[in-house]
Amino acid sequence: MKYEQIAQLQAFLLRHRSCYLKPPRGRRHRRDEYEVAQLLRALDEREREALDGLMAGMGFELHEFDDTMDGIPRGGVVWVVLRAPDAPRETLLGTTPVWQRLSLRSDEPKATTVYWFTFLWMLTMSFLYERISRPVSAVSDYISAEVTREELEAKTSERLEEMRLETSEPDPQALPIAAALLGGSGRNATTTANIRKRVGHFLDAMDDAGMLELVRSEDGETVYRQTLLCAAQINELFSQDLIHVVEPEQIEGEMNRFLSANRSRAANNSADADTPQAPEARETEDETDGTD
């Protein structure tokens, strides 16, 4: 067992959270990345178990994707480090540096910074998922998920203006998030310059943490593209974390759609075989005409 090599792998993986055997389009290998990838590929079963155990002890899992995943060059392999679903959240990697990077002042309350990050993160996800009608489970479609800084700034301003029209000075007790993001009135109000700074800090932090990558699109525009790491992580923890973001009505609607599709399929199958219908099929009343 080559402990020194396993430690080297663990250190690299925790720092960068991804390792490419062949770098994706538009990027070169990071320092030591190629050597680390070769070591990962050469691990025997015991060594891989040891590495997995070390990562698990820190609350992480090592996932591997081959070239059947979109965006991975032919013959390439990618390893990503994901937070394990039930692992404790206090680990070597944390969010404190993110809050420090996003805040505009050293004495900014943590709540303000966290609210800003959450707001910008949700808007970014709307570009990466909602705009291209992409479900969270469609990890491989990360190659289509892009956003520009200008788009994010414009959307942020738009949403804040909508809120400002509702209430120009929200009560900090009743609406603490709106109060923090709108910043009050007069000189304290959130300005376009503030938004620009926040968005810039946010995108830089996401880029440095490997959640987004800065690429130049085919028409020369600079865009931020979602990484495989980000897409896989969100998919992995969706049912634990993000599910709280989804409106209950959306879950209910999708549940009904799924059950009615199942009922229709069961009804078609019952003409061929003597199988009893599933209980869900008898309970729902919605009909389907079988269209896709």
Partner: protein, 495 residues
Amino acid sequence: MTEENGDLYQPGEGGAATTAPDRPDKPGYVFLLAASIRMFDLHDAGRALGADHTQPPPEERSADNKGTYLSIAWDLLYYLQERELEGAFDYVDISSFAAETADAYNVTPADVYYVSNTLAQPTQLDFIDPRDRTTRRTTADTNLIRKKRRGQACMLAKAGREALAFASGYFKWVHAGAEAQKLVGDLQFGEYKSFFQIGTRLLNRIRQETHDIRLALEQPEVDDLRQSFLDNARRYTATIKELSSIVGQAQVQLTAPQTIESIDTWLTMVGEEEGYAFESFTGLTQTLLNAIANMQKLFSQFLETVQSREHALVGVVRFDAAAADFLRQDGAGTSSVDFLDTMFSGIGPLFPDIEDLHPLEHRGSIEVRVPRQRQPKTFRKATHSARDKDRIEKFIDANREEILRRLESGPLSLGEIAENGDTWLDCTELDGLAEMTSFFISPMILGLDDGAQIRLELGGHRVWMMSDGWEFSGPDVRMRLLRVGAPADQQEATP
């Protein structure tokens, strides 16, 4: 072609076919379209059901009837397929393709982009469900390519890959074993070019199927595809095993002496001129086995997880509405700072949080201490009053004169001792340099004469890092030596 390339066989090398197979008179796609064109006339027919009159199908095809757009379209599909085989399942900029194709066909790049935009646009196809012959079904999975929102980057869509597969000789997945058996036959009978054609087609198909499995795993709305995999799981798994076994046979056959000799002869006569080598054969079989293994792994994952995944029921999350709604929250529950912090410590950007591992947090608590030899205990006997001095006393004994001499010349602060005391004090007896400052805590250990007093004053909070690695902090202390009974202006020693 070595293992460092990752893929042991690069389709396209050695003349292996990635485009349509050799046909003497027509490209392969013509056979596909020829069999389909009247079907689309019927699909788009203007005649109403039950109408008395009949209308002949259209013979005149509108606009450009030289087949230019059609040919450009298939050129584009083959181009994207080649990029996919050489590169990755990823978007490809077609600007250079458009420029070259425009030259070749004597059209403008805009004409080429018209073709790409058309292929990227899905349309609805209606058919009657063959099971009951009355239910109308639709599918919009008809775009042959996917195109990025910005620019001219495209990639093949599922329908596009299927169109190419149909054009090159489609086979059902369950017949993949029979297809793979041809590899063994080709090796046996010396049909080596056919070996590569079959192998490449098989490899493309395996990768396509693997891609479809991933699609079924990820997209909640592809219920039919997912259900098809589930319904036919046993047959699917059997096909994978069969493939693996047959390709393994081909690999073994390549080690047989007569096969090696036959291949060498062929290479000498024909193969080497066309870019083949013996490693091309072994590389192809190994690449096939790797692809089959990856497919098996993904299919197992599909069977294991697809049924239990919760967010298959959610579809597209409305993040924009969630963001707008977030502004209106009261900061409690799922909008509280603690909850959000915890959530993003999972799905958010993470950095090494070195606060928890700062060296000052751990210095002295995890340092391995070498046990020192125990000092003999001090004790008193009734008849003997001998007492062993502890190390602080010994330190003071060794430095008393120096310390008092220093105090005579002016005040002495704890900070001065901490910062450079080891340069003028003998610290031999001490465990750590911080113990130099012990006489500030109990100054009477200095053994002052009756005419002397010590005045202590507190200063600001300081942190001192000792040269031996220890650290301590607290208020600075200033010690002054006062001479009792002396005139007021002479009571305190001044520097």
